[in-house]
Subunit: 570 residues, 2 copies
């Protein structure tokens, strides 16, 4: 199935959801002119369709392979990655002082959207590099920045995040990897990390691992964690990769999907010869990690958009081709393309509407990143508030749309050759990594509702109320407002018990707001009419559906604790 | 992970949802005494846990394999199947005149529930045999019945259903396989069938294919279809399998899951030497097919229960073992088992409640099969009405619960070794085969709402109203009633556009009714308290959620047809 970049949609969302014009009017982002934005969207679309999309199947069927000498990517990936680097696609959002193009994060988001819609597993590699860049740009020393950032900015070297250990998953504070001072300002790193995406591969001459570890005497829990820069190959004096740094890939996971992305078990310092440098202050690891992870959370939300886009294109193409049964109630007894059947259309329109909603939400959040980076405190709060929504709801949508994509294909969807199943399998990790969606919901009702004394939440509610004219959406906003204010002061258990349904409600309200705005601006050309139909479906059907969650979002934790845990296994 | 048969739950549902006592009080089912029911549930539980559950992983990882000599099952399957036959587990629901035990279909359902919870892919084999038995018992000649039914009843021979062809999926009437009279009352069969589950394997000395084909001069569409009995090996005069009947397995599908079940492409009559017998009247194939498929639809709904049961057991075991993070809001900062965290409990309780709801719905329908088989016309109508609910909603639940099962496992859920991913992959076919869930929804709003001039629907609504005391459920029933009556006379497009959300609403209302009844009868022992919590969660959270579908179930098709089909791919 040919991949078609969603260029028109992306441009529309950048214009009216991100309001890219406001960004381009600033000194910081003056480069983001209309022409440049168009050129970037078109260019990456051609590149992704031409070079990355054709590798999507091999990424799944061949997959990344572990060998004693490291991870080997399927044929074609190394060249396609090289072309990505040479095309400058990695540098879009990186600041100019590090060799980047200094364009808004929102534009970089659109670029990653296209790359990942073409090949989600592949695009995870640059996604992780972006996290490493953020951490170094915010917390690295000038020397670290000078040595590493230019190579990361282009994507010539790739980055990883090393948080998880077998006993330390969602509970990062339980990690045990150690860093011992070597006396020269450097540290000896030792420990095993799991679930390290692109922890090894053969597409770049160096890999920059960002590793959380404990320094001697560090307190227990998250307060005792520091962040280290640990390259796969130490740098020579001229900054080129030199000696192997005792970082070994022990194995890669046998996963349900996302086979193009090697999920590595990395062993640091087996021979006591793994050298790292502190990034930022000792014991400041958690703060640096959040810098790295916050945008990573948006980028995972974006993976929901990517998989939804790919799945929708695949299902639409199939439904426009497959002929089966006459239209019910029609005098014409000829078999028709299945897109003509109402329930198939319902599925397709839902896929379209949900994909657009997720894209609007994630791009909107990306636009707040750019404003926050220019010192806009309100945008910073808005970003903090919508980040868990973008991550959790974006990925929930990705999974729902991928499942609908299989259903539209019928039996063919269950057979691997159509590719519908790959989207479904690839998507299923996204509600888990970078903080499970349950963790996102906990973050929402815990830290984010309390932000600015509830002001961050109140202004989002007010903004939607001020702009929306849709009664159904306003009803949902009222419900979110009441529940959110109650949850802000609720007991911890009650808060968490209601957190996930509340997150979904608030996400749908936010998406509904951004969809309604787009509907009001849609023209009468093909794109505009498709947009109008998606928006209408979203407001008429998906928004009311979220009202069904009021009971769950209003429930206490009592029912959950009415029974002792062992009864769940009885 | 050890599989524990849900014996107590099954017995409770048989008693209070199926009301097995009413059946045992009839002459027909006098054998279904309390002792016998207990012995069957216990016995199959031990058998399934001991012999079938241990093969579940190999069924997935090794899978059925195609060879030029036919399909080879993974090691252990042939012996475990032999033990199933010798244990008499195939004969439970078959009438005594064919060598069966003549127990209610509801008991057979419980047996298949346990077998499939242990190993869903494996249990599909006997599930298909049941369909073949039904078709022969209702439409076969006395000679066919005498020759075939005793061997099918024990499971010594297995059965298949051959409907689908590449151009004829949901549209069965488009099939092209042919049957040409040979002059001796037999027919020469020719054609290719796809998606034939257990179309070939090495566990039985014969396989009885039931094949839909066209006879010479037959009219187009479903009216021109006849059903044929086509054994893999023709029978000798003494009834034993003899010459090969020119039925070849050309390939098996490369599916996302259910790898233990070989999904075959079967070629009939490549050498013009495939002989079949007509089952029932010529051109009576569609009617015979529905006999075969109706119970098959319940059995696929039951697969939703099976996968939900397995996934829930796996997730509960993991959550009771995995330690991660302190309880939020607790003064105790020790890490706890993740079952203690509210959102994990919410997921587990939802899994429990949904699994129980699906089981109640499918068993309830099975109880109506038994009553209908004794000539109860009201039960026949009820069965017809709830069959699409049991199939579609049962499988939707299976998929939802399997997905939650992955989420509870976190990153481990995405790694194949835990088995959580297998449930998720296995489940995904169930909303597709035996009539996609969209077809079920079309059946509900098309044929079933009209049944008995709307009487079938009206009496279900009345029965729920008469028994329920729950305001939330009664509100949902009111909504279903109003929408159902409106849909009964709506235009075909509007009917179909609303069909799926309406099916979900009516399914939840029916499940809520059966759950509420169970809650009222639950005792205060461990089982009773778990049941009470599940029922409470179902009524407090899942029933109100279904009210969120009122808008979609009330919408017209207008939004779906506001745009031309090509725009879905734009």
């Amino acid at each position: 199935m040919a991949f078609t970049p969603a260029t028109t949609e992306q441009r529309f969302v950048l214009d009216h959801v991100v309001r890219i014009g406001e960004l381009a009017a600033t000194d910081r982002f003056a480069a983001a002119s209309d022409d440049v934005v168009d050129a970037v969207l078109e260019g990456v679309g051609q590149f992704a369709a031409g070079e990355w999309a054709p590798l999507n199947r091999a990424g799944d069927t061949v997959g990344a392979k572990w060998t004693p000498d490291g991870v080997v990517m399927p044929d074609g990936f190394a060249q396609a990655y090289k072309d990505y680097v040479e095309g400058g696609w990695g540098t879009i959002g990186v600041e100019e002082e590090w060799g980047g193009q200094g364009l808004p994060f929102a534009i970089q988001t659109a670029v990653l959207d296209t790359l990942g819609s073409a090949n989600m597993g592949f695009a995870l590699c640059p996604t992780l590099t972006v996290g490493a860049i953020e951490a170094l740009a915010h917390h690295g020393s000038p020397e670290q920045q000078a040595l590493y950032l230019p190579h990361l900015a282009t994507g010539e070297w790739t980055g990883t995040m090393n948080l998880t250990e077998p006993q330390a998953g969602s509970d990062v504070g339980a990690l045990r990897a150690t860093a011992t001072p070597l006396g020269d300002g450097k540290w000896s790193i030792k420990g095993t990390k799991i679930y390290i995406s692109f922890g090894d591969h053969d597409m770049a001459p160096n890999i920059v691992h960002l590793v959380l570890a404990r320094t001697p005497g560090a307190p227990a829990g998250t307060k005792g964690i520091s962040l280290f820069l640990v390259p796969k190959y130490r740098l020579n004096d001229d900054g080129t990769p030199g000696d192997f740094n005792d970082v070994r890939v022990v194995s890669i996971e046998h996963k349900m999907g996302l086979h193009a992305s090697p999920t590595c078990v990395l062993s640091f310092g087996d021979n006591d010869d793994c050298v790292g440098e502190l990034i930022g202050a000792e014991l400041g690891g958690i703060r640096a990690m959040f810098t790295m992870m916050n945008n990573a959370r948006l980028n995972v939300g974006l993976q929901g958009v990517q998989v939804a886009e790919g799945a929708t294109q695949g299902a639409a193409a199939y439904a426009l081709d497959r002929v089966q049964s006459a239209r019910a109630g029609s005098p014409n007894k000829e078999s028709v393309k299945i897109v003509e059947h109402p329930d198939v259309r319902r599925m397709l329109l839902r896929m379209k509407a949900q994909t657009q909603a997720a894209r609007a939400l994630v791009y909107y959040a990306a636009g707040q990143v750019d404003r926050a980076n220019m010192g806009d405190a309100a945008a910073r709060n808005r970003l903090e508030l919508v980040t868990p929504l973008a991550k959790a709801h974006g990925t929930d949508i990705g999974n729902e749309v991928a499942s609908l994509g299989i259903q539209v294909h019928g039996g063919m969807g269950y057979v691997e050759e159509t590719g519908a199943a790959q989207y479904f399998r690839d998507a299923r990790i996204t509600p888990i990594y970078e903080g499970t969606n349950g963790i996102q919901a906990a973050d929402l009702v815990g830290r984010k509702l309390a932000l600015d004394n509830g002001g961050a939440f109140a202004t989002l509610i007010a903004d939607i109320r001020a702009e929306s004219k849709d009664e159904r959406l306003l009803a949902l906003v009222d419900a979110c407002d009441a529940i959110g204010r109650r949850l802000a002061t609720a007991d911890a258990d009650d808060k968490l018990a209601a957190s996930y349904p509340f997150l979904t409600m608030l996400s749908v309200a936010t998406c509904g707001w951004l969809m309604e705005r787009q509907g009001a601006l849609a023209g009468t050309d093909d794109f505009g009419r498709m947009k109008a139909a998606s928006v209408r479906f979203y407001l008429e059907q998906i928004v009311p559906e979220a009202m069904g969650l009021v009971a769950a979002a209003s429930a206490s934790a009592a029912v959950l604790y009415a029974i002792e845990p062992a009864l769940f296994a009885a």
